[in-house]
Amino acid sequence: MAIPAVASASETAEVAAAGRRISRAGGGRWVLRKLFGAALTLAFVLVFNFVLFRLMPGDPAKAFLRGRAANPERLIQLRQQLGLGEPLPVQFWRYAMATVSGNLGDSWSMGNRPVTELIAERLWPTVLLSGTSVVLAALIGMWLGARAGWRHGRAFDKLTSGAAIGLYSLPEWWFGLLLLLLFGSTTGLALFPSGGMTDPRGGLNPAVDALYHLVLPCATLTLVYIAEYSLVMRSSVLDERYADYLTTARAKGLRDDQVLSRHALPNALLPTLTLFFMSLGYVVSGAITVETVFSWPGLGYLSYEALSGPDIPLLQGLFLVFSASVILLNLVADLIYPFIDPRVRLA
């Protein structure tokens, strides 16, 4: 975003003062409170995760064997190995201790490999896909929303708002399939590959190949997410539109788009930025269905595989990572926020 980086001396002083107030007067306590809140939420997630997967029907020992013939002795032995015979509090204590020390257990369906290893392996493709999409959606959404709100009620507004809402209401996987059909298949334009992250046949620089494979899934997510940003941006620009300071700006003789970009936009940006930071938390978990449609080897696809097991330790690990990433990134957003808007620390 193009944001004017000029401020008057008095304004700068005010910011600096605000910054000091955060760090001195109660800022430390405020940070601690936020940290404590996040830790508490994480602890709750840990308990909830444990209880949820203990409520699932079925015999974990049998699920572990997954259809292999086993005699009763082997089943009993396995239940002992999995610690299933012990009272629930003991099981929980073990689970909590292991989790805290970074051990999420061993997967049942992926050849017994450690869950942390499996998740780490699939994390980057997901971050690449969802991260790019969120950033693109935010940039495009803000731009569209600002223009639409500024020219409220005009053709541009009606067109973009309508399109954004329309796309937003589509299920991601369905829209993904549609794009795949239109741009990735021989029935359509066949411009892009039909899935995966690289073509094992080779022939392309791997980085270019990955980008080439990224286009369709990324476009799917971006187009669906745009409305989140454009609609919020539009309404906040609308709110600012008739403000007195804009009349003043116009009276100074500024062109219309200068009034928008230099005065209205900066003030209207905060809600959208809030939204952006909050969505960062979902970058890790946001693309389950789209990854499945495009065979994208990320965490969403891993969840899908874990579900068809069902692979309880892997699911449990994924749930934990998804929740933890939302909590942690929201915490980061919370901590950054006072620097963007000093009023927040009062809240």
Partner: protein, 633 residues
């Protein structure tokens, strides 16, 4: 985080903060965008593949290497042959390792593999296998009888190893390599399965360093040493797996240079990849997707015979091995006449045509006709679809229609639950048909659709009346028949009911006797006789209503590859066989240069991406310039 609504109606705010915001946004963007570099860099192709521009489009790039790409829907769970469970993993074990004996391409009968020949002692309990000489592991070491004995001993002794291969080694009491080329195994009882021991032969000099206790942690995915027709060269979890042909394979070098197994998450994308030539073969798609590939240029589809069947199963009176009644099955189903009437009311022909769309054949015996040596069918004595006969059977058995049109006898009303599976469209449709037909003979059916996990659970506890499911049958019929023995019923473990393999609670001493007898018959002819009798007994007792044998949908690029081999030769599958026939025999079609248009698409796609990125960059620069211009004013 403060709700955004509270922040919207604020007046002027200093701009410096917004500059900070912009900086943050840029930082976040960079942080998110940067990982693409390293992540993508990992994807460098293995040295064996050179980056030829036409590689994406043709099976035979200019430098003459041929790569066959198979699309699968099931990711490989483990390359460690003691850990993997899914069919794709077993397919890989076959590619990388050899086995003692093989299954013939024509009819699955036992054929030499690493064992060149074998003898049996007169009492049928001592087996002597003569191991092929001159076979080398992929690291150059010779493969000897010691490796074979080691592999079997490990499958017998190791806890996890045994869990994986118990079915093949539990009957063996002694394993011995008497010299470099001879392995002698002794069994407690004569056993016909000694010619079908699907235990992969692993190199002792590698695996002795992997203790049994640590076997679960051994991924075996870094160029594992094997003796099979292919070696694993590259692993991209969730994406693809690359194999190089073993050019000195003892049974002849594969005709392709490289095999890639590529993973897809859905049928449509995989079918699309086949149409575009990104892959050369697929299987395991829905029949609808298979039909969409018919008549596509360059593609040959095949509804290949498969080893699976589906059935409507009945609760024959759930009882544990210890004799405790469990569950809540309708007692009417313990009456054979009721099951017989239901069986008469199931129109297999309609199910085959409407539900399976003709991709299969009507069912009878529980060993599918893909195994002609073991399969039994009633021939002319088959129970056909006959609602009148179904009605009269129920009349004769004393079930009379009440005022509501539902039959009852004594206090027992013929109101039955029928469970279908939520992951199978065929299952959902089939149970609807059955409900309608049974409605016509005065049986009320309540259909319920559930997950397979849930269904497994209720079956084990006997909390069902009828359900629709199926089995995939191995070339050796032993396991499939064992499912109907008394010992496979649920049992009590630590006060709780635990399930065996039985899903009918059938328990018939006469059947158990037949099952035990076939286990000891070494002569295939005599054994087949008993196996057919056992199937007939199941049919006569209506333990299952076997509804169909379903086909395996396969399709491949016949414009590029030829020479795929079916197993059995008569209409069987091309891949996922008992053996590696197709992978070794498939070869590129003779030179026929053709532009698939993929190259053009790629160029356009990349160009489009670049143009898009450039447009964004220009926009950003323009906005920036304009704003600074404003400031300069």
């Amino acid at each position: 985080m403060s709700p955004s609504g509270r922040l919207t109606d604020q007046s002027a705010r200093p701009r410096r903060r917004l500059a900070a915001v912009a900086a943050l946004a840029v930082a976040a963007l960079t942080a998110l965008a940067l990982p693409s570099g390293p992540a993508a860099a990992e994807d460098s192709p293995s040295p064996s593949v050179s980056g030829s521009g036409s590689g994406g489009a043709s099976a035979v790039p200019e430098h003459g290497r041929s790569t066959f790409v198979l699309g699968v829907k099931q990711d490989i769970d483990s390359f460690n042959p003691y850990m993997g469970v899914v069919a794709t993993a077993y397919e890989v074990y076959q590619l990388v390792y050899d086995y003692l004996t093989g299954s013939s391409a024509s009819d699955f009968s036992a054929v030499p593999n690493l064992a060149e020949s074998w003898e049996t002692s007169p009492d049928g309990k001592v087996w002597t296998y003569h191991i092929r000489q001159g076979v080398k592991w992929s690291d150059g070491q010779p493969l000897t009888a010691k490796d074979v004995a080691y592999s079997f001993q490990r499958a017998k002794d190791g806890e996890q190893e045994n869990a994986q291969y118990a079915a093949y080694v539990d009957q063996i009491s002694k394993i011995e390599a008497t010299d470099a080329n001879t392995v002698v195994m002794t069994t407690e009882e004569p056993s016909p399965s000694m010619l079908r021991l699907l235990v992969p032969i692993v190199p002792e000099h590698i695996w002795r360093d992997v203790p049994s206790k640590k076997v679960k942690e051994y991924a075996n995915d870094n160029k594992p040493v094997g003796s099979g027709p292919f070696t694993l060269t590259e692993v991209k979890s969730g994406q693809y797996y690359r194999f190089a042909a073993n050019k000195s394979y003892w049974a002849g070098a594969p005709k392709i240079d490289e095999l890639i197994i590529r993973v897809f998450t859905n049928d449509e994308a995989m079918a699309n990849a086949l149409k575009k030539g990104e892959i050369d073969m697929l299987n395991d798609v829905t029949y609808g997707v298979l039909e969409s590939l018919q008549n596509q240029p360059g593609i040959t589809t095949s509804s290949s015979k498969y080893s699976g069947f589906s059935e409507i199963a009945y609760n024959l009176g759930a009882e544990t091995i210890e004799g405790k009644k469990i569950g809540n099955g309708n007692p009417a189903l313990t009456d054979k006449q009721v099951r017989l009437a239901i069986d008469y009311a199931i129109d297999r022909k309609t199910l085959l045509e409407k539900v399976l769309r003709g991709h299969g054949s009507e069912g009878s015996g529980v060993i599918p006709p893909i195994y002609p040596n073991w399969h039994w069918n009633p021939g002319g004595g088959a129970r056909g679809f006959d609602l009148a006969k179904a009605n009269s059977t129920l009349d004769a058995a004393g079930y009379v229609k009440g005022a509501d049109g539902i039959r009852a006898k004594g206090g027992t009303r013929l109101e039955l639950r029928l469970f279908g599976r939520d992951n199978s469209e065929e299952s959902k449709k089939a149970v609807e048909y059955v409900r309608d037909w049974l409605g016509q003979i005065g049986i009320k059916v309540n259909v319920q659709i559930m997950s397979e996990d849930n269904l497994t659970e209720v079956i084990g506890k006997g909390e069902y009346d009828m359900f629709q499911w199926g089995w995939v049958v191995e070339p050796d019929p032993d396991f499939q028949l064992s499912v109907f023995t008394c010992d496979q019923r649920s049992y009590t473990d630590a006060g709780e009911v635990a399930a065996g393999w039985s899903d009918s609670f059938y328990c018939n001493p006469a059947f158990d006797a037949l099952y035990k007898k076939q286990k000891t018959l070494l002569d295939p002819g005599q054994r087949a006789e008993v196996i057919k009798q056992a199937q007939q007994m199941l049919y006569d007792d209506v333990v299952y209503s076997t509804i169909w044998y379903y086909d395996n949908p396969e399709a491949y690029r016949s414009d590029r590859f030829t020479g795929l081999q079916r197993q059995p030769t008569d209409g069987g599958s091309f891949v996922f066989q008992y053996g590696t026939y197709s992978y070794r025999s498939v070869e590129p079609v003779a030179e026929k240069p053709k532009d698939e248009g993929t190259g053009l698409g790629l160029v356009l796609g990349v160009a489009g991406g670049v143009v898009g990125a450039a447009a964004v960059a220009v926009l950003v620069v323009a906005l920036r310039r304009r704003s600074t211009a404003d400031d300069r004013e």
